[in-house]
Each structure stands twice: as structure tokens, then as C-alpha cells.
Symmetry: C2
Subunit: 203 residues, 2 copies
Amino acid sequence: MAKSKNTEQKIFDAATELFLEKGVDRTSVREIAAKAGINLALMNYYFRSKENLFDAIFSMLVKKNSEELIRILDSDLGLFEKIRQYVHVYIDMLSDNPLLVSFVMAILHRSRERITEMKVISSLYSTDQFTKQILEEGKKGNIRRTDPTHFFVDMLSLIAFPFAIRMLVMDKNNFTQEEFNQFIRERKDRVPDILIESLKPRS
Amino acid sequence: MAKSKNTEQKIFDAATELFLEKGVDRTSVREIAAKAGINLALMNYYFRSKENLFDAIFSMLVKKNSEELIRILDSDLGLFEKIRQYVHVYIDMLSDNPLLVSFVMAILHRSRERITEMKVISSLYSTDQFTKQILEEGKKGNIRRTDPTHFFVDMLSLIAFPFAIRMLVMDKNNFTQEEFNQFIRERKDRVPDILIESLKPRS
DNA sequence: GTCTATACGGCGATAGAC
DNA sequence: GTCTATCGCCGTATAGAC
């Protein structure tokens, strides 16, 4: 165990960097081993497979980033303010972690029996408290639409999908990377506005 | 050319079925050849590579399905009615073609220089007429938000993203396949409502 | 056009020596 | 723990018989 932690970490770090740089599928275990300065077999000694290594890195990334999101969802903020903060933080998170976006894409893409990662992603969405809050506001007549499932899907869609189709948006509008970033920044106010309007009682 | 069309079609059909069944990445060309009842070499005679075969199938699927969407976008329907029809048809299309969803996911996932497919996808979105319409309605003061790029991204997000996270939604809500289909069906009215509300002038 | 046969380099994974 | 050596599969390619 003396130096083992060190080697494991070297593999972990090298893989993280390469996955970010070239995507998961385009990174071979031989490359990872080379970058970590170790042998191909060690790669399999510490992590049984490339798949496991991927899961380990992904879980770490999610855990590191999901805490604040869950804290907001479970807080006792008012519904509308909660929505604003959630969207802000979530969009910032995805902006700062392109790796997270491409990882989720990779997982969703191979959506076959990937239960492990699904559970990890699900942990991002402990919506019990949030669901209760929507239902209660609905009972009080403070909001118009009261289906928490649909609302949460609406919210996630408006937050996350633009990142998934980044290349498409950039190509279509001749955006530079910086212009796309600006486009995303604009959504930090636009998205909550639309969501809240969809809830507010009609005039 | 006599029987060639037949063999090409057999490969095409076998690949389509396997891609749908197990995903593109998890389908090998040897499997495709076997299922088509032909030899591996023929696989390479008709389509130079698996990538080419993928592109051929994908282009066919898009062409088959995009016509009606483009027709709606370019029609002289009123803006709100146009939005309703577009969302309806688009959601129906994705419901009826799970292969299309998984293909787009595959392409977005490997979002690196996949210019060919990007162009194909872009063809789904010939938004010139639609963009003009939004700008004109804005000038007339008939709508509140007048950024066509943001609006189109909002619309696509609300339409398509739920399909991408299908497994997540089903897992989180303990949906059966039929319950998920019902969930999607509900969105055919919900999504246009939200979009139109985001445009309508405030009271 | 269709087939058999065979080859190449790269991949993820592993057995077994040290 | 770390290594070498090797396995079986992959996508791709081609030579050559029919």
C-alpha cells in the first residue's frame, strides 16, 4: 500500500486528463498507461476495466459537483428563488466542467443496463423536498402547473440540452467559443424566467 | 447491378436492425455481415466502412422524417399554430423512431469533427423563414421575447431532451414503458403551451 | 458481383513470472 | 506491485477464384 496509492492516483489523473482532452471512447487504456508512466497490466490491476475506471472518475466528479445542487433543492428557499439559484448554479457547473457534460452524454448514449452510472446521476436529483414544495404551492393555489415530474424534466431540458448540442448551435449561428459561452450566460436568467412564468397564475 | 441492389439492401437492413437493437458501437461489422447472410468482404465492397454505413442509414432516416418538419417551419401558419404543429410532429417522430434518437445521441456524443452528420442534422433546422417570422412578430409588438436563436434552442430542448434521459426518467419515477409513452404524449400539449406563454405579451 | 482466405494494426483484458 | 507476453476481438483491406 506504500506506493500503491500513488500509482492508482497517477492512473486516475492521467485518465481524467485524457478523457477530458479526447473523449472517453477515443482514449485507449494503452495511452492512459503511457501517460501515467506505468504498464498496461497495472491499469487492470487497480481498476478491473476501463469501464470501472470511467465509473470511478465519473462518480468523483458528480460527488464533487452535486452537493451544492442538492443543498439548494433541499433548502427552505421560496420556490421561485430556489428555481433561480438551481438554474444558475447548474449552468455554471456545466460551463466549468465540460468533462461532466461529455461523460453524461457517453452514459446516456450507451443507455443499456448502465444501472451503476444511472444511480450516480440519479443522486444528482434527490427531488423529494422539491416535489413536496411544488405540490404544496399548488394546493395553496400559488402556481398554475403542479406536475413535479414534468416541471423537473422541463427544467433539466432547458439547462442541459444546449450543452449537448453545442456544436450544432455554434455551427448554425457561426458562434465562436466565446460567443457560445455568452449565449449560455444569457440563459442563466432566461431559463428561470421561462420556468417561473410557466408556473405563475394567469392574469 | 442486377442483384446488387438486393445485397446492398440486405446489408442496410441488417445494420439498421442491429444498430437499433444493440447500439451502433456495440454492433460489429462481422455481426452485420452474418445477419445479412453475406460475407465480410461484401460489407466493404458496398460501404467502404462502418462509418459510411452508419451515415447512409442516418441520412436516410433523417430525410424520411425531416420533410414534414421543414414544411411546417416554412409554411405561412401563424407563429403560435406553427409552434404547436412543429412540437406535435417532432415528438411523434421521435416517439416512432427510437433509432433516430439513439443515432443523434451517438453523433452528439462523439462531437468531434463529425461535420457530415452535423450538416445532415442541421438540415432538420432550416430556420430562416421561422427566424424571420419571429423577428417580424417582435417588430409588431405581438411577442415579448424576440431572440430566435434562444427560442429555437428552448423548443428543441423541451422536445428532444426527455427522450435522451428516458432511462433516467423511467428509473426515477418507476415508469413502465407505457407510462413513459403517456408522459411523452402529455408533453405534446404542455411544451407548446410553455413556449407560447414565454412569447405572449404580459398582462 | 460474390465469395474464400488471409492479413494488418489496434483494442481491452489477463496469465504468470518476478 | 510490477512487469512481459499473449489472447481474442475489432475495423479495415486485399488478393484471387468463380
